[in-house]
Symmetry: C2
Subunit: 326 residues, 2 copies
């Protein structure tokens, strides 16, 4: 880590905008060391770790607000932490900053991080700063989970339930509106744009970790992520009518927009969870989700035929794959 250096502006960034995010945790050395301690204290827990980044012109637009960028970098990582059944503990922040980043930007960015930290209860452990010709925000998140628990993404049994949380496709519709490929009335446009700019992770994961076989967050689209989860033994049968869509999304699909359900099945950045669990745990999982006001839907089951199968015809031929890397 090189949060502290001789360069005045780096010191300024750290002292004025980042130090407030360490919440005075002892292991951070108040960002005056090249490293930090990460001590879980409770020996019945182990650490989970995940790392993800977002880059200008790949994962966000150059003129997106710092508030949106702070929301996205935390959501992509928190979402993985929750999908592992873990509770957030702390994080590292690696900022690659172009020259145009100013104090207003840093103020808004760090304030949003502080709000999110407060909401989920974690703190900034350290990180580093670099100059760059384009903005990249990278982060490594730490979570904790009971030692005995181990959530795989691709371990399950024949006939297991396939459930998902939240509605799919809203972030993708927001993106299409921003790209001016589809449009609706002002209110709906703004609703979907906000879904794209301010995605929220689904915190159900750690609450149901005892009752699931596999979990994964939907970051690359329902089909893409479910394909990643399917192992070489089994496939999935999906009930198309059970795929959860909001009323607002249905309105977009019903409008004259040249936009169909198929376009949403590979829509990235939803950040709901795909859960694969034994039928016998179905009620427990639904009860916990309901108690926490989290929408959950049973969309299908694990079958012996490999691949993803739908119970009604879908035309997926011309649907582009969602891929951050390409």
């Amino acid at each position: 880590m090189k949060f502290i250096k001789n360069n005045l502006s780096e010191k300024l960034i750290i002292n004025k905008y980042l130090k407030k995010l360490n919440c005075k945790n002892k292991g951070t050395f108040n960002f005056e060391n090249d490293g930090a301690y990460l001590d879980l204290k409770n020996k019945n827990y182990k650490l989970t770790v995940t790392t993800d980044n977002i880059s200008e012109n790949i994962d966000f637009f150059s003129n997106d607000t710092p508030k949106s960028i702070a929301q996205k970098i935390t959501t992509v990582n928190l979402s993985d932490i929750f999908a592992m059944g873990a509770t957030p503990h702390s994080y590292l922040l690696n900022l690659y900053l172009p020259n145009h980043i100013n104090e207003n930007w840093l103020n808004s960015f760090s304030n949003q991080l502080k709000r999110i930290q407060h909401k989920y209860g974690f703190y900034l452990l350290g990180g580093d700063l670099s100059k760059s010709n384009k903005l990249i925000v990278s982060s490594t998140f730490f979570g904790f989970i009971k030692k005995k628990l181990e959530i795989f993404q691709n371990k399950f049994n024949l006939h297991d339930d396939i459930l998902i949380t939240g509605n799919i496709g809203e972030s993708k519709i927001g993106l299409e509106i921003l790209k001016k490929k589809i449009s609706s009335n002002i209110n709906l446009n703004q609703y979907f744009i906000n879904k794209y700019l301010y995605p929220i992770p689904c915190k159900l994961g750690p609450l149901i970790a005892n009752h699931v076989n596999s979990m994964k967050d939907i970051s690359d689209g329902l089909i893409g992520d479910l394909t990643d989860m399917l192992n070489s033994k089994y496939g999935a049968l999906i009930n198309v009518n059970k795929i959860p869509l909001s009323f607002k999304t249905k309105k977009i699909l019903n409008d004259k927009n040249n936009f169909r359900l198929e376009n949403l099945l590979n829509a990235g950045d939803d950040y709901g969870l795909i859960i694969i669990s034994s039928q016998k745990n179905r009620n427990k999982i639904f009860n916990i989700a309901n108690k926490n006001n989290i929408n959950i839907a049973l969309i299908g089951k694990i079958i012996s035929e490999k691949g993803i199968h739908f119970d009604s015809h879908l035309d997926l031929k011309n649907i582009e794959k969602f891929d951050h890397f390409s």
Copy 2:
């Protein structure tokens, strides 16, 4: 983490070049999950964490070999882990890859990582891959240290010893040779260029962690790093003649090159350690260093006058500060 995705070339990178680096550790899920587990097992230890990155045209030249880049990204991080008195455990790798990176590059890069992992005994826990217009390699390293130990960089007492390991300035001389600012005979040129391209971290830190008050690695130059260590209470008195220089470095200084000792005091990327410790532990530290064939030198002491003072005149006015960020 998004090591596994639908993109064939990303899968290829992971399967062919990165999976071999996880050494089949269970917590890595063989890179088939979005996250990993980090379990120290021994409850008497805690984790240390540090993160650092190197960027094309800032920390290395565009045409530097993948072997050199692998050496640098591990050394900058291992050096911080050792300076915290910790032993390396595992690491995350975040690669930002431009289009020109090919399989030959990845093969050479990953093989060098494997050699270094084997040398120090750690493994790859996970990471992510992104496209980029320039090459950036970022890494987060985990180490372990006894729970009771806590190595600060800026806690020490009046009259404490100031020691450093290794020789200073060799990497900087290599850089100046590459920039064609100075030159010597072919053998010496190659010696210093290798010091720049293949820096090695000083593993003394964990061996003497019980006996020191503060430690820091020399990444930004002796003056820069020592300045960072000095707190608001005390300063340092340095015996100029005790600053360790190799015979080869002395030859460069004695040659007609317009290059003086002063140029080496802010030379970055040496990766020796600055150690501040009580005089009563001096013999213990020297004995441990000698047993491990690590050069160590007593270069000064902590005094009550703030700032860094030298016992003979140095002309530091026109010496540029070393700063990765600028």
